[in-house]
């Protein structure tokens, strides 16, 4: 072993230590509010609102959760949220990767216009289309139906843009090789391209699921009876009043709402691991 080698390794070790320190401090700063949220859901209302706030619950209570589960028809709202979020996620993954592939790798007339329309849609502020969209959906007779909750979100410009950008970085040679082998275009997409897209699909899946799961205004307006409410709508119902907010319920609700998203994230995040994409490419 030469002295130079040892020098490099020593420098690496210092760099590593610095990196870990920075990352750990950032982690604390980033995780803090989440931890506070989780811990505070076990505090009585008075302690949550105390100034300055406490970290560890001085009085530990399950009251918020008990209150939450007794006042809310939890299984129903959870089912509604899960059904809508899963349908929306599956729809986005499928349709957006299909059109993303076409936009990135196929040549056909109208493609430019389509892509520009997608980009344009991405840039329209959401608030402006809300009322026309609702009038449209209600004229289709979809108020208070699952279809009304799902269909308008089944595809989205964000997903198309994400998939198109990602698919562009997949080498053409791979697709060309498959074409030379005589594979049909859909077969190429399904067998060759999609497996390479796992990191992007995982990303899109997480983001779509999160957005749908947290969506508040649309389900509130489209659902006209309580049995079609989703979790965030139901939670807002009991925790936010005209003149006061019930923070205990709100935080307990936030913890309950965030759990499924975290689980989805933990399930999908292994797809970010180095290796899957690269072995696929070789």
């Amino acid at each position: 072993m030469t002295t130079m080698d040892r020098g490099v390794r020593g420098r690496d070790r210092v760099a590593k230590a610095v990196l870990y320190t920075i990352l750990s401090i950032s982690l604390l700063a980033v995780v803090g509010p989440f931890v506070w949220m989780a811990l505070s859901s076990f505090k009585p209302e008075g302690e949550i609102r105390s100034v300055p706030p406490t970290w560890w619950p001085e009085t530990f209570t399950l009251e918020n959760f008990r209150d939450l589960f007794s006042r809310l028809d939890f299984p129903l709202f959870f089912f509604n949220s899960a059904l809508v979020a899963l349908a929306v996620t599956v729809g986005n993954l499928l349709f957006c990767s299909l059109v993303g592939y076409a936009l990135a790798k196929l040549r056909y007339p109208g493609k430019r216009v389509l892509f520009l329309a997608v980009l344009g849609m991405l840039m329209v502020p959401g608030m402006v289309t809300f009322v026309p969209q609702f009038v449209l959906v209600s004229n289709m007779g979809l108020t208070n139906t699952y279809a009304g909750l799902i269909l308008p979100f089944l595809v989205g410009p964000f997903g198309v843009f994400l998939m198109r950008q990602f698919l562009q970085s997949i080498p053409d040679d791979l697709i060309e090789a498959a074409r030379v082998d005589g594979a049909g275009e859909f077969r190429i997409f399904w067998r060759v391209v999609l497996p390479l897209c796992r990191p992007a699909l995982a990303t899109l899946g997480i983001l779509t699921f999160l957005a749908s799961w947290n969506n508040f205004l649309w389900p509130l307006v489209v659902a006209t009876t309580e049995d079609k409410y989703t979790l965030p709508v139901a939670l807002a119902l009991y925790s936010i009043g005209q003149n006061r907010t019930d923070f205990g319920l709100l935080l307990a609700g936030a913890v309950v709402v965030v759990l499924p998203v975290l689980i989805v994230f933990l399930l999908l995040q292994r797809h970010f691991m180095r290796g899957i994409a690269t072995t696929g490419l070789k």
């Binding site: 990196l19 059109v99 007339p109 849609m121 502020p125 608030m127 402006v128 964000f158 843009f161 965030v258």
Partner: protein, 320 residues
């Protein structure tokens, strides 16, 4: 295809290379087949897109040329067409101008800051030498999923002039910390930092997916050539990551030009309108029932978003 860079799709499909084309009929049939394939892939999306998005956009665009108010909602066709009146009125609206300046500052500082932080985090987490990667990955993503209400409570506490942690730390080094959110000069910068904190995890996840797609042998080759880690980052990672960076930049730009939640929960646009954003102003106008006016403001914002995105496509777009 020498059109605008916005649409410079990769003109490198396989078929494009065949220069010695046979008879016209074969060529035509091939072109038809290509069109059919392309649209077969695009059809499900396009149908849903046209019905649920394009139609409402057209309606709202028409709305922006009328004096539609919430009091007309039951008879929307009984409104007056006012031409560009809403648009011209915007530019004599003090609050709109004020909010435009605030939003511009937010974007110009916030977008680069968020991208740099996210890229740094993604690169660090993607470097092979790190343990506990999964822990950091999940940790950095937590702000994205944390309820905005909890975020607001904790951040208000952090920035509290009397008992806040930030001023506590400043006090240790002998600085008398200001009252961040109640100071017209400091409120907006505080929100920029907060937005960066809240959003970089989202971009980090996207950048990670992009980094994963870079073939490892490129780095191996670079290492063999004696490239330092910084050189590898500069000459391998950045160019390969360009489509993803472009995506991240555009999406963050779009999001930040519409920033709303931070001032909504932290400052309600105050103190003295110093954190009022364009989106917040639009939200208020919709709330007041000025639908036509709010729609016009939305489309001015839309134009700003398009302009920012075009600039980003210019700088980061695919170059051939």
């Amino acid at each position: 295809m020498a059109g605008a860079p916005v649409a410079t799709a990769p003109a490198r499909s396989v078929e494009g290379k065949t220069s010695d084309r046979p008879a016209g009929s074969v060529q035509r049939r091939q072109r038809l087949r290509r069109a059919l394939t392309g649209w077969a892939f695009s059809a499900p999306f396009t149908v849903l897109f046209l019905v649920f998005m394009a139609v409402p956009v057209v309606v709202s665009l028409v709305m922006s040329f009328t004096d539609l108010r919430s009091t007309d909602l039951r008879n929307p066709f009984a409104v007056n067409f006012v031409g560009l009146d809403n648009y011209t009125r915007l530019f004599s609206d003090d609050l709109f101008l004020r909010s435009s300046v605030n939003t511009l500052v937010f974007v110009v500082v916030g977008v680069p800051l968020t991208i740099v932080v996210a890229l740094a985090a993604a690169t660090a987490l993607n470097s092979g030498l790190l343990r506990f990667r999964a822990l950091f990955r999940v940790g950095f993503y937590l702000p994205v999923v944390t309820s905005i209400v909890a975020v607001a409570v904790v951040w208000r506490f952090l920035l509290d002039p009397e008992v806040g942690l930030v001023n506590g730390l400043l006090g240790v080094v002998g600085i008398d910390g200001p009252s961040w959110l109640f100071d017209t000069k400091l409120a907006l910068p505080s929100l920029i930092v907060m937005a960066t904190w809240r959003n970089f995890g989202f971009l980090m996840v996207i950048f990670l997916a992009g980094l994963q797609a870079i073939p490892g042998d490129l780095y191996e080759a670079a290492t063999l050539d004696g490239a330092s880690r910084w050189q590898q980052f500069r000459h391998v990672t950045l160019p390969m990551l360009r489509p993803t960076l472009l995506f991240g930049g555009v999406v963050t730009g779009i999001g930040y030009l519409q920033f709303f939640e931070e001032p909504f929960v932290m400052t309600q646009g105050g103190p003295l309108s110093s954190t009022l954003s364009v989106s917040y102003h639009i939200y208020n106008q919709f709330g007041f029932g000025n639908y036509g006016y709010a729609a016009a403001a939305s489309y001015v914002l839309f134009v700003a978003i398009v302009a920012l995105s075009v600039i980003q496509f210019r700088f980061l777009g695919e170059r051939k």
